[in-house]
Amino acid sequence: MSDIRNSTPGGEDYEPQISATGTDAVGLAAGGSADPLPGEDKSYSQGQLVARRFFRHKAALTSMIVLGLIIVVAFTSIGTGPIPGWWPKDYTLQYDKIGDGAPTWAYPFGQDTGGKDYFALVMRGTQFSLIIAFSVGIISTIVGTLVGALAGFYRGWVESVLMRLTDVFIVIPLLVVAAVLGKTAAGWGIWGLALVLGLITWTGLARLVRGEVLSLRERDFVVAARAVGTSSWRIITRHVLPNSVGVIIVSATLAIAGAILLETALSYLGFGVQAPDTSLGTLIDEYQSAFATRPWLFWWPGLMILTIALCVNFIGDGLRDAFDPRQNRTKD
C-alpha cells in the first residue's frame, strides 16, 4: 500500500485541502488561488461550514442585519404587551397635529388624519405582520414537510390520501378560505389568524418535498440504510429530510414572504387584523386615498412590507447556498 498522502488530484491518493473558500472538492489545489494551510488537519462541522458559507453571501448577510434591525426596533420601540418601549408616544393616542401631519423631528413618520403618531402605528403594524409571517412560515413548513415526506417515502395508499388532500387544498381559492376563516379566527386574536393561514398555505411545499423525497429514497445511501435495518422514521429524519433542506428552506422563506403579502391583502380587504389593532395591510387600506395628498401615509407601511419580504427572500437564498455541501464544486 502506497502512502495515502502522496497526493494525485482526482486520484486515489488525493488528499482534500481545506482552503479559505471552503473545501476544495475537485482537486484544484494545483492552480487554485486557495491558501491551503499546510499541516492543518482541521475539519469543520456541518454547522461551521454552513455559517462560513452563509456569511460569504453578502446580500444574505446584509438582509439578515436589516431584518434584525427591523425586528428589534419594531418590538422595542413601542413595547409588546406589558413591557413598555423607548418610544415616548402611544399608537392609540391622538396628538395635536403639526401642519398637515408631514414627517417632522417629533413625528419622524408623520401623523395620520386624526393626529396619531404614524411611527408608533407602523411599528405596531410591523410587529403584527412579522408575527403572522413567521408563525405562518413555521406552521406551513412543518405541515408541508411532514405531508410531503410521508407521501414520498411510504408511497402507496399513504401517498394517495395525502396527495389528494393536498389537491383539495390547492383547488379551493386561497383568498376566499382565508377571508372566511380569517374573519372567524380573527376573533381569537392574531395567533388564530396566523394558525389558519398556516394551515392552508402548506400545499406547495408538500408537493416539492414529495418530489425530492421520491428521488432521494432511491439513492444508494438510503438503500444501504434500509439494508442495515434502519427504521423508516430514522431514515426519513436522518437521511432523507436533511438532504432536502435546501428545498424546504427556500420554500419556507417564500412562505414567509407570501404570508406577509397574504396578510396584507386580507387586511386590505378588511378580513384580517381588526381595529383598534393594526397591521401594515390595514394601514395601507386605511390610507390608500391619501396616496396623492399625503404620500408618507402610504409609503412607510409599503416600504416596510417591501423591505421585510426582500430580506427574507435574500436570507433564504443565502441559506440554500450555505446548506448545499456541493456548493464548492465547480465541475458537474
Binding site: 486520484g11 486515489e12 484544484l28 469543520y44 439513492r219 444508494d220 439494508a227
Partner: protein, 608 residues
C-alpha cells in the same frame, strides 16, 4: 475483404500527413477558485488509417484535449497552441467555419449512446440531419444514403430502422447508429471518447471490431480516448499516456504496453487485473475454511423474482436461481446488464421480495422473518454499492456514516463507537483525520473505502458487494481490491461479489456463477468456470474480455472470431460495397457555397 483504394477528397495530401494534430496544446479553465491548468502543452498527431489511443485516469485532461479538436469547450476555457484538423487550423475558424468542420472533417463517437441520440427523433431524422446540413444529400437521396450507412455498420433491415426511435434499439445497435452518424460525412478523423465504456463486453468486442474495420476500409484516423488498457491493446497503433494534463509517454502499442518507460505507465499497467492469471495479483485470497456441515452464509433456493408492471405482463428478472455462499467464501456473480445480478443482490439483502423460492441467511429464512428478528438478521449482512458518490449520505461526516449501523442497532456508547470507527478507518487504510470530513471532500476511491468500512462496522458474516469497483479508476480499483482481499482474510466474511468484470472476479472469487437473462448458465469453482468454461455463453464472455497486451489480445481476438465462426455468426465489420462512393461536401463542387471555402482558407492562413 481487402482495403478499398479510394482517394480521399479535399486537400489532404500524401498519406502519412496527419489528419489531426495538436502542437503545444494548452488549456486553462477559469473557475471560482482560480485557474486550472487542464492540459499543459502537449503534442500529438493522428495519421490517416491510424488509431491513436489517449490513455489516462479521470481528470487527466484527455477528454478536454479531444474537445479542443471540435472547438467545443465551455466559454471559461482558454486554449493556446495549434490544433489542425486536416488542413484547417481550428483556432482560426469562426462559428460558421467550425460548424462546417464538425462532421465534415472531424466527427465524434460518444460514450453513452442513449444520451448521444435524441430520444424524440427517429434514427432516420438524426442521420439525414448531418447529411443535409453539410449539403451532401437531400430528401430521398439522403434517406437512401442513411440506409446505406446503417447497412455499413451492420444493422439489419436498415430501411425499417430509419423509422424507429433510439429506445427501440439495443445499446450495441445504438452505438452502431452513433458510429454511422460519425462516418456520414466521411470525416478524416473520428474522435471516439470512451466508445465502449457503457457497453457489455461482448457488445464492446463487436463495436471495437467495427471501429477497426472502419480505419482499415475508409482510411479514417481515430483518436481513441479510453481508460481501459484492454481496449487499447485491442485497437491502438500508437498510445499516448496522459497524466495531469501532460503526456508522459508516447509510442507504439507494443512499446508502451509491453515496455513502459515512465513510472506512471508502469503503475497503471500493473494495476490492470489480468483475466486468466488467477488470484495473487493483488494479494492472495484465503482458502475457504468452513466445514461442509456448517450452515451456508447465503442460500438461494429456486429463487424467482418478478417485477409487476402496469398494463403489461409481469417481468421475470430472476428465474429459478439456486446458489449458495459458504461461510468465508467469495462467490462471484457475473453477467451482462439485464442478467439479473443486481436484482439477486438486492433480494439477498431483503430489499425486494422473492416471488417464489427461498432466501436464507445462515439458516434463517429471510422471506419469513419480520420485525425484530428481521432487524437482527440484517445486522449480519453488510453491503457495498457501485457508485461511491451516491452511497454515502452527503449530510453526514464520515465518522457518523461508519458509526450509523451501531447507532441503529443501539450498540455501545459514543466512546466505544468512536473507537470502532477509528479501528475500521485503519483497516481500510484511511487516515483518521477523515473522521470529521464530509463525503464530498473525499475522492472516489476514498469514498468506496468508507463504504466498505461501513459495511464491516457490525462484523457481518455476509457481505453483498454490488459492482464495488466498477466506478473507480483502474489504479484505484487495484488498491481497493488489494485492501478487500486483506480485509476478507482478516474478518473472514462470506461475500457475494457482483461484477461484470471477469478479470476482477478471477482475482477474488472462490466460485463463480454466470448469469444470463435471469437464469444461471454455469456455476462452479473459479478455475473451472473461467479457465475451462463448458457453456457457450461463458466462452463468449471470456473471449470478448480484452487483455492489456497487444499480441496476446490479437491472439484472443482471432480465437474469438474463430469461436464466432464456429457458432455460425458474423464478425462485426464495416460493409463497404465495391461501388461505394465517397460523399462530396458542397464546397468541393466549385465555389458556390457563398464564399465558405474562401472564408475557411482565410481563417487557416490567418493563424498559421
Amino acid at each position: 475483404m481487402t482495403t478499398l483504394d479510394i482517394s480521399s477528397p479535399g486537400s489532404v495530401a500524401a498519406a502519412g500527413d496527419a489528419v489531426l494534430s495538436f502542437e503545444g496544446l494548452s488549456v486553462t479553465f477559469k473557475t471560482e477558485f482560480g485557474e486550472v491548468h487542464a492540459v499543459k502543452g502537449i503534442d500529438l498527431e493522428v495519421r490517416p488509417g491510424e488509431v491513436v489511443a489517449l490513455v489516462g485516469e479521470s481528470g487527466s485532461g484527455k477528454s478536454v484535449t479531444s474537445m479542443t479538436a471540435l472547438g467545443l469547450l465551455p466559454s471559461n476555457a482558454r486554449v493556446s497552441g495549434t490544433i489542425r484538423v486536416g488542413d484547417k487550423v481550428v483556432g482560426g475558424l469562426d462559428g460558421r467555419g467550425l460548424r462546417n468542420m464538425r462532421g465534415n472533417d472531424v466527427a465524434m463517437v460518444f460514450q453513452e449512446p442513449m444520451t448521444a441520440l435524441n430520444p424524440v427523433l427517429t434514427i432516420g431524422d438524426q442521420l439525414t440531419e448531418g447529411l443535409q446540413l453539410h449539403g451532401i444529400a437531400f430528401g430521398k437521396q439522403a434517406t437512401a444514403r442513411a440506409a446505406e450507412l446503417l447497412a455499413m455498420v451492420g444493422i439489419p433491415e436498415p430501411e425499417r430502422r430509419l423509422k424507429q426511435y433510439p429506445h427501440e434499439l439495443s445499446g450495441g445497435q445504438r452505438q452502431r447508429v452513433v458510429i454511422a452518424m460519425a462516418i456520414a460525412c466521411d470525416p478524416k478523423v473520428i474522435i471516439a471518447d470512451e466508445p465502449t465504456t457503457a457497453l457489455d463486453v461482448t457488445v464492446q468486442a463487436d463495436i471495437l471490431d467495427l471501429l477497426r474495420s472502419l480505419k482499415d476500409k475508409l482510411d479514417t484516423g481515430i483518436l481513441l480516448i479510453t481508460h481501459n488498457m484492454g481496449v487499447v491493446a485491442d485497437m491502438a497503433d500508437r498510445v499516448a499516456v496522459m497524466l495531469k494534463g501532460d503526456l508522459v509517454e508516447t509510442g507504439t502499442a507494443d512499446q508502451v504496453l509491453n515496455h513502459p518507460r515512465h513510472e506512471y505507465t508502469k503503475r497503471l499497467l500493473a494495476a490492470v487485473p489480468h483475466l486468466g492469471s488467477g488470484p495473487g495479483q493483488f494479494g492472495d485470497v484465503a482458502p475457504v475454511v468452513a466445514a461442509p456441515e456448517d450452515l451456508p452464509a447465503l442460500d438461494l433456493g429456486n429463487l424467482v423474482i418478478e417485477y409487476r408492471r402496469l398494463g403489461k405482463p409481469t417481468f421475470r428478472a430472476v428465474d429459478d436461481v439456486s446458489l449458495s455462499v459458504a461461510q468465508g467464501e467469495i462467490v462471484g456473480l457475473v453477467g451482462e446488464s439485464g442478467s439479473g445480478k443486481s436484482t439477486i443482490a438486492k433480494c439477498a439483502l431483503g430489499l425486494i421480495p422473492a416471488a417464489s423460492g427461498s432466501v436464507s441467511i445462515l439458516g434463517n429464512d429471510f422471506t419469513r422473518t419480520r420485525g425484530k428478528e428481521l432487524k437482527a438478521l440484517r445486522r449480519r449482512i453488510g453491503v457495498v454499492f457501485q457508485d461511491p458518490a451516491s452511497s454515502l449520505n452527503p449530510r453526514l461526516p464520515i465518522g457518523d456514516v461508519i458509526a450509523e449501523p451501531l447507532v441503529v442497532h443501539k450498540e455501545g456508547d459514543d466512546k466505544s463507537r468512536r473507537r470502532r470507527v477509528l479501528e475500521l478507518l485503519d483497516a481500510v487504510e484511511l487516515p483518521r483525520s477523515v473522521y470529521n470530513r464530509y463525503p464530498h471532500e473525499l475522492s472516489g476511491g476514498q469514498r468506496q473505502r468508507v463504504s466498505i468500512a461501513r459495511a464491516l462496522t457490525l462484523d457481518p458474516e455476509l457481505l453483498v458487494a454490488d459492482e464495488p469497483t466498477s466506478a473507480l479508476d483502474v489504479s484505484v480499483q487495484a488498491n481497493v481490491l488489494k485492501m478487500f482481499t486483506a480485509l476478507q482474510e482478516r474478518y473472514k466474511f462470506a461475500c457475494l461479489f457482483v461484477s461484470h468484470d471477469l478479470a476482477v472476479i478471477d482475482l477474488l472469487a472462490h466460485r463463480v456463477v454466470v448469469l444470463q437473462n435471469g437464469k444461471i448458465v454455469e456455476q462452479g469453482p473459479r478455475e473451472e468456470v473461467l479457465h475451462h468454461p463448458r457453456e457457450e455463453y461463458t466462452q463468449r464472455l471470456i473471449a470478448a474480455a480484452p487483455v492489456p497486451e497487444p499480441l496476446e489480445q490479437r491472439r484472443r481476438r482471432e480465437a474469438r472470431h474463430a469461436l464466432l465462426a464456429k457458432l455460425g455468426e458474423d464478425v462485426a465489420e464495416l460493409r463497404v460495397e465495391e461501388d461505394y462512393e465517397r460523399p462530396r461536401p458542397r464546397q468541393d463542387e466549385g465555389g458556390n457555397s457563398s464564399g465558405l471555402g474562401g472564408l475557411l482558407g482565410a481563417g487557416g492562413d490567418g493563424s498559421s
